[in-house]
Assembly symmetry: C2
Homo-oligomer: 238 residues x 2
């Protein structure tokens, strides 16, 4: 089946968690938001689907994935659908639980630069952003890193992956978290990484996977940028 | 099977979404956090599990549910596990997608009074809370309400429920959202409810369900209060 991914064309954002799973799985997919308007893509294609009056199960927001007649939204839900985890129910729930915790972390990383409103510019909420980012760096960032380092440590398979023996979509998402946090908070991460060697090793191992390495070098991988979830403002990274 | 729910004893919080599903399903469960310490319950029981060094799959935070040997965390993941939805994959994913959108909404409702840090008191982030709550009332609250009203309207079964023909855990959670929002933002909700008659009707229909009505009258249902996710501060509800 050829999947169609619908996401904003100029940022990695939440869409990137889905792209990594599709790329690593060697899936055939169209990144509809990045196709030209002439080819039926771009933001108009997203908006047509979001605003369609005939869609019985409309998404609240991108990303969403068309898979045959299904239109599936919510990043973690899309990954649950795509699979790439051990098949038994306990492992699927465990992987999904970790993915939902990553989703919570993504919100908190985003809210460091937008603590008041997604509808306002960063410059309109800078004092609040400074306070929120200070709390994120001091409390939340170490808490999440400690938690996932512990999960790697306790995995009874000792595989270096988060769930079971093999790589899963949760590992791909964790690679993206570490990469994004390094872009946004280089100073804080430089301080914290030595205490989290398993996460650093996981990041490196994922980025060396054949299809992921090829993807990261391709034009399909957008660069991190200042319109994205992960943003670097030096005043937020003391 | 007798389930064990682990959640903070003095608030409804995220645990309430799980309680409503257990109560409506007539499930046998222990609300461990609310048992006495002598009976092996209370906050120490939560902390023992959260801090256990032997647990291979530790939760990041409450609520979590023990079901036999499984320990499952993340509210939406627990509800996915418990079921109470149509059995086909498309409906399960759709219900879960809606539940994850409710989870996002819960975070935003909470952050109106804690926009900077969960580790600080409301009084320490009051100016920021006023700004964030103003944005929530003007932009986000109507956006979420409009979305779910549209879902009810478009349900091809015309059942008045969010997913398919029958009640599902998503409807129980929506009841809780409406009830919580009424407690926290009575003025804003009084303005918005007339435009969302289907959601109001759904709230009433759920609260009239036999087991839910009995639960709401019982001491098992905690009252809304000012330590909870939904809080009423008149300065945040203009």
């Amino acid at each position: 089946m050829r999947y169609e991914l619908y996401y904003w064309p100029s940022i990695q954002g939440r869409g990137e968690f889905v792209r990594l799973a599709l790329e690593d799985g060697g899936a055939e997919y169209l990144d509809v938001g990045r196709l030209s308007k002439r080819a039926g893509g771009g933001i108009p294609a997203l908006m047509r689907l979001l605003e369609s009056r005939s869609l019985e199960q409309p998404p609240f927001a991108p990303p969403f994935l068309k898979a045959g007649r299904l239109v599936i939204a919510q990043t973690a839900n899309i990954l649950l659908f795509l699979g790439l985890v051990p098949k038994n129910e306990a492992s699927r729930l465990w992987a999904h639980q970790l993915q939902l915790t990553i989703a919570d972390w993504v919100v908190e990383a985003h809210d460091t630069h937008h603590p008041i409103s997604g509808g306002l510019y960063y410059e309109e909420q800078k004092p609040e952003a400074k306070r929120r980012a200070a709390d994120f760096r001091a409390e939340r960032l170490p808490k999440f890193l400690d938690y996932f380092e512990r999960i790697l440590d306790r995995n009874p398979k000792g595989s270096g992956y988060l769930v079971g023996k093999e790589v899963s979509y949760v590992d791909l998402s964790m690679f993206q978290m570490i990469a994004g946090l390094r872009y946004a908070f280089p100073r804080a991460m430089a301080r914290l990484e030595p205490k989290h060697p398993r996460l650093v090793a996981l990041h490196d191992r994922v980025s060396a996977r054949r299809r992921i390495a090829a993807y990261l070098k391709s034009p399909r991988r957008l660069p991190f940028n200042q319109q994205d979830i992960f943003r670097h403002y030096s005043e937020l990274d003391r």
